[in-house]
């Protein structure tokens, strides 16, 4: 990409090349490369094709939601005994995906991991969109979604309060906080880059963009005092977001674990859910990173090291998840509870057995390929693996929700859950909405933190990165 700014194009120093940044990059060239992705007027037919396809999916989702509002949740496959179907499974899946972004941003920042820099921004965007979509599902699942605000404690004429002892109310607080803090973290990190875009757009004579980015940049000037406070606030946010990440999926797991239902009522649930969240979240980071670096030629910034590190996290979390599966089985048999035992055997050999074995294959068996260095360094293999894991984790969420419910204590109350076309449209529509939001994000905001890349250039030139 040519630099439109004719002044000061000669970088005074260049990155030396390291595992996380290729050599030869300077402050101006990283700025122009990343800002150029956003400020270009021609986004190409590939972006437009993807955007139109995603828009069609969003249209289908809107149609499915409208029909849901007209007819009620009877259009889905849910019934008694399986009153929680795709909607709750999708909710848990999406909120899990929404965990890696904050984990990467916050935990890797606190651990001073250099490989965080080029992937944290889009991973945070991923978090925000995934958590937002997740939040939709419990609301859609309410019989009367227009009363969802009854979860909020506010003085009301009914004179009642939310049920504070209910995990669903805890869930509301967890998701609302997570969304807000993720948005703050993301936006604060964006402010210096928005200022860059304001100045670059001004330089290019793009007046409208200059004003839009200028308003969002809040007048950021990059003064040393501002930077010091900015970095301090950012570090505090990272420290606050770290326990928050762990708490959110813990509370989501309590939606299940607090209920006295075989297969739900288990103390392994909180850590098992958090591990699963990181597992699926890192899988989604790879699913997004690989096409992004290809589409925008970002191989210099998102290197093989980034992908291989994410792959190692996948391997580790795969084992944590496998431990969760083992602990569930062990506890079921060790407890001596016939219902727990039956539920476990039913997972293996019941009507949803094939889904269970497919899940184990996707989440435990196939990820073992990551032990091989060749697989970790093979981009196509990582893309395929990340998609397999995404599917596997969705199946896990589905199984947790459905298998425990479809066999009640009394055989006379047994039943089956079969998803309807509307269930499928809502699931794939939510994926389309995610893609749609992400496409808009890469169109309008820098997908890599420019300011932090400049810092990395300096560290690299000094031989520190």
């Amino acid at each position: 990409m040519s630099t439109p700014d004719s002044r000061a194009n000669h970088d005074t120093l260049h990155s030396r090349g390291s595992d996380v940044l290729r050599p030869g990059w300077g402050y101006a060239s990283v700025t122009d490369k990343i800002a150029g992705i956003v400020l270009t007027d021609h986004f190409g037919w590939r972006w437009w094709t993807a955007f139109l396809a995603a828009s069609a999916g969003v249209g289908a989702l809107l149609a499915a939601i409208s029909w849901l509002f007209v007819k009620g949740i009877g259009i889905w496959g849910v019934d008694i005994p399986v009153a929680w179907g795709f909607a709750i499974g999708n909710f848990v899946w999406w909120i899990g995906i929404g965990h890696a972004g904050t984990f990467i941003s916050a935990v890797l920042l606190l651990l001073r991991q250099k490989w965080r820099t080029s992937i944290n921004r889009f991973a945070e965007a991923m978090t925000l969109f995934a958590a937002g979509i997740a939040g939709l599902f419990p609301i859609l699942h309410l019989g009367r979604p227009w009363f969802f605000y009854w979860l909020v404690p506010y003085p009301n004429v009914m004179n009642v309060w939310p049920q504070w002892r209910s995990p669903l109310v805890w869930d509301f607080f967890a998701i609302a906080t997570y969304l807000t803090v993720s948005l703050l973290f993301w936006y604060v990190g964006l402010i210096p880059d928005l200022a860059t875009l304001r100045d670059r757009a001004g330089q290019r004579g793009q007046r409208g963009r200059q004003v839009a980015y200028g308003l969002l940049a809040l007048g950021w000037r990059g003064e040393a005092r501002h930077w010091a406070r900015f970095e301090w606030a950012y570090l505090l946010l990272a420290g606050l977001a770290t326990p928050l990440v762990v708490s959110v999926h813990t509370i989501v797991s309590l939606d299940f674990a607090v209920g006295n239902t075989p297969g739900y009522h288990s103390t392994i649930f909180p850590p098992y859910f958090v591990a699963g969240a990181l597992f699926s979240g890192f899988a989604m980071v790879l699913t997004l990173a690989i096409p992004l670096r290809h589409a925008f030629g970002l191989h210099a910034f998102i290197t093989g090291r980034h992908l291989a590190n994410a792959a190692k996290v996948l391997l580790a979390t795969s084992w944590l998840v496998a431990y969760g599966y083992l602990a569930e089985m062990f506890t079921a048999f060790y407890s001596g509870d016939i219902y727990e035992r039956y539920m476990t055997v039913n997972r293996f050999m019941g009507p949803y057995g094939p889904v269970y074995w497919a899940m184990l294959t996707c989440n435990v068996l196939v990820p073992q390929l990551l032990w091989f260095r060749r697989v970790r360094l093979s981009v196509p293999a990582l893309l395929v693996l990340s998609l397999v894991i995404n599917c596997g984790m969705w199946m896990e969420r589905f199984l947790i929700v459905v298998t425990s419910l479809h066999r009640d204590y009394l055989p006379s109350a047994w039943g089956m859950y079969y998803p309807t076309a509307w269930d499928w449209i809502t699931l794939f529509g939510s994926i389309a909405l995610f893609v749609w939001l992400f496409l808009l994000f890469v169109r309008f905001l820098p997908l890599i933190s420019i300011a932090e890349m400049r810092e990395l250039v300096r560290e690299s030139a000094q031989g520190e990165a």
Binding site: T12, T180, V181, L244
Partner: protein
């Protein structure tokens, strides 16, 4: 002040190290309100120009404490005072069940306090600033480093300030109208 309409003098430098050296130099000449502008956070520069992090950490703590205490109080008040329901003699003040919401709002309060304090301490949002009138200044968000001696600095005098900056061999030296 002979020229009241002056915001300050601005000098442009090519590298982070030259900016740090220049900032140190002018600080040694008694300037206390030195402003240094850079496209990324330069470690140590804040100490050179004498910046402090202000109230961010204490107010973040306060925000967290207020959020947590307020949320706990709300739950206690609702469950014990305003709408007590006796369910099989279970305790009304069931504190373990009140922890999740308390924890979440503690984090929320602290995060909001951190961000708001940072913005207020930085005087943001401030959409316009005299420096934005300097055409070269848009490189401060790309690859150039700027040092500004503001006219409001007690030791500022236009002539000596200009000589001091010129002695540092900046790429550009200009006056910034207020």
């Amino acid at each position: 002040m002979s020229e009241p309409a002056l915001y300050g003098l601005l000098a442009e430098f090519p590298t982070a190290d030259s900016l740090c050296a220049a900032a140190r130099h002018v600080r040694e000449h008694g300037y206390t309100r030195v402003e240094a502008y850079s496209p990324f956070a330069i470690e140590g520069l804040d100490e050179i120009i004498g910046a402090d992090k202000g109230w961010i950490a204490p107010l973040t703590l306060l925000g967290g404490l207020l959020g947590g205490a307020g949320t706990y109080f709300l739950q206690w008040y609702a469950a014990v005072v305003d709408y007590p329901i006796d369910i099989g003699g279970r305790p009304l003040h069931s504190w373990p069940a009140f922890i999740p919401a308390t924890f979440e709002i503690t984090i929320l309060g602290a995060a909001l306090a951190a961000v708001v304090t940072m913005l207020v301490a930085n005087g943001l949002p401030r959409l316009h600033h005299p420096l934005f009138e300097v055409e070269e200044f848009d490189l401060a968000s790309r690859n150039r480093f700027f040092l500004c001696l503001p006219a409001r600095d007690p030791v500022f005098a236009p002539g000596p300030a200009r000589d001091l900056l010129a002695g540092l061999h900046p790429l550009l030296l200009c006056e910034v109208p207020a």
